[in-house]
Amino acid sequence: MAGIYRKVNRPVTMTLWERLYVMEVVRGVLITARHFFRNLVGVTIAYVTGKPSERRIMTIYYPEELPPVPEAYRGRPVLVRGADGKEKCVACGLCEVACPPKCISIVGAMREDGTRYPDTYTLNGAVCIFCGLCEEACPEEAIVMSYDYQNLCEYDRSLMRYDKEALLIPEEKLAKRLEYIRRRMYNKCNY
């Protein structure tokens, strides 16, 4: 919803009509009354249909309703679990190198068939700055930024060190984000 503004041409000297004040009061009251009834209708429709977008008021009932997240939003970084149930990550270490605050640490290993995988993949959520460079660096689409932004804080920093199991999320749940990064346009200005 774009902001609506109107340029007000305000004359310095008031006309007799304006100085009478009564009709100007009526005009002002009609403006607020219009807002009242428009919002009343909007709130009623939103309550009946259950669609918060029908409400014209910008305020969001936060814990019950969530604001719409833009496509380029960078939430918690997560690892992608492929369709075969294995992580897509090949432990190349590019994300580790790209990470500005150095919050990722990987210990690679090799399977019997010769493919590489991360034996441990630790992402320290307390250090992560949500820059998304790991996502850009990854050649395998294995680490992506999710749209998840809730419950990321803990009272104990040690709880914020996510290991591989905590980071892995099935591919189909990240379909929207994967489609977005395939366009290779990370800058928000492109949207």
Partner: protein, 369 residues
Amino acid sequence: MFDYTYLPEPSLVPYLIEMMAKIMFIFTMNVGVFAPVLGWVERKQSALMQDRIGANRADVFGFTLFGLVHIATDALKLLVKEDFIPRGADRTLHYLAPFIALVPALIAFAVIPFGGQYDLWGHKANMVIADLDVGILYVFAVASLATYGSVIAGWASNNNWSLLGGIRVGAQMLSYEVAMGLTLVGVFMVYGSLRLTDIGVAQENFFHWGIFLQPVGFILFITCALAENKRTPFDVPEAESELVAGYFTEYSGLKFAMFWMAEFLEMVTISAVLVALFFGGWQIPFVTHAGLAGFFGFLGPNGAQVATMLVHVGVFWMKVLVWIFILMLIRWSLPRFRYDQLMNLGWKIILPLALANILVTGAIMLLVK
């Protein structure tokens, strides 16, 4: 016109029952319904007018009821809050002031008719608690008593802001009561009576409503009434940005709640007076009393009267609700007057206009006659 020879001697018991029922009804409507619910209305209406949502977090077992639960939480909070009296304050007057402010707001309703006169089982029921022949003068007298509550509160608190607020109340009420009395003289001249039931009966014809006969008087009266109510645009006595909270700065807990209730009840009373004087009281446009009773004729003579009474009382309260809504709209739309503007408006604009209104009304009445 009414049969004023009607007196209670022949049937004291029905008279007492009727009286108690009316007093209970008005008291319940004011204290039980309007005082608490208006707090909710004020919050929600101001929120919607300003594109906000308003108070909605208090809940009972997960039901917020559009924020109505806040009424209960407010009451609980104000009940258990510390009742603080500042050092050096006059304790007696400090206790007395909220009562002096609240009681007039309650008793002013005694003369306002919320229905017509009905013949119920041979007993004439008049839907007004006290059908005084001085009518509206009683409302003025009682409304000026309420001023003492605010002034005494300002004096007794031993606080600079309170005292300033109290002084401002005194000056404002004095200025606007003069004008308020004069604005209504035109109405009395047109209807030829001070008795509010007479004025209500005279407005049975839609085109004899006060708003059509006294349009200037109506605008002047609503301005004065807003000033009497001490709410924005005329809230200089409490002026948050200047005087903390004005005359009730040093009040907390239930005593603060009484000032708060007095403000809301004054608003109900003002709406009721406006409806009774300018908007036909209990009358429905283009529907006469006899016509409505005829419409309900299938309920028998008594049933028709009861149905008519219920419709009339409902119509009256609906009109009052509409006026409360408009007063709230005005309160949340307009900024506060500067103090000198307030005094100028009262003495230099409204008072001369009210006098001119009396003159013009008299001239027109002479011409028409």
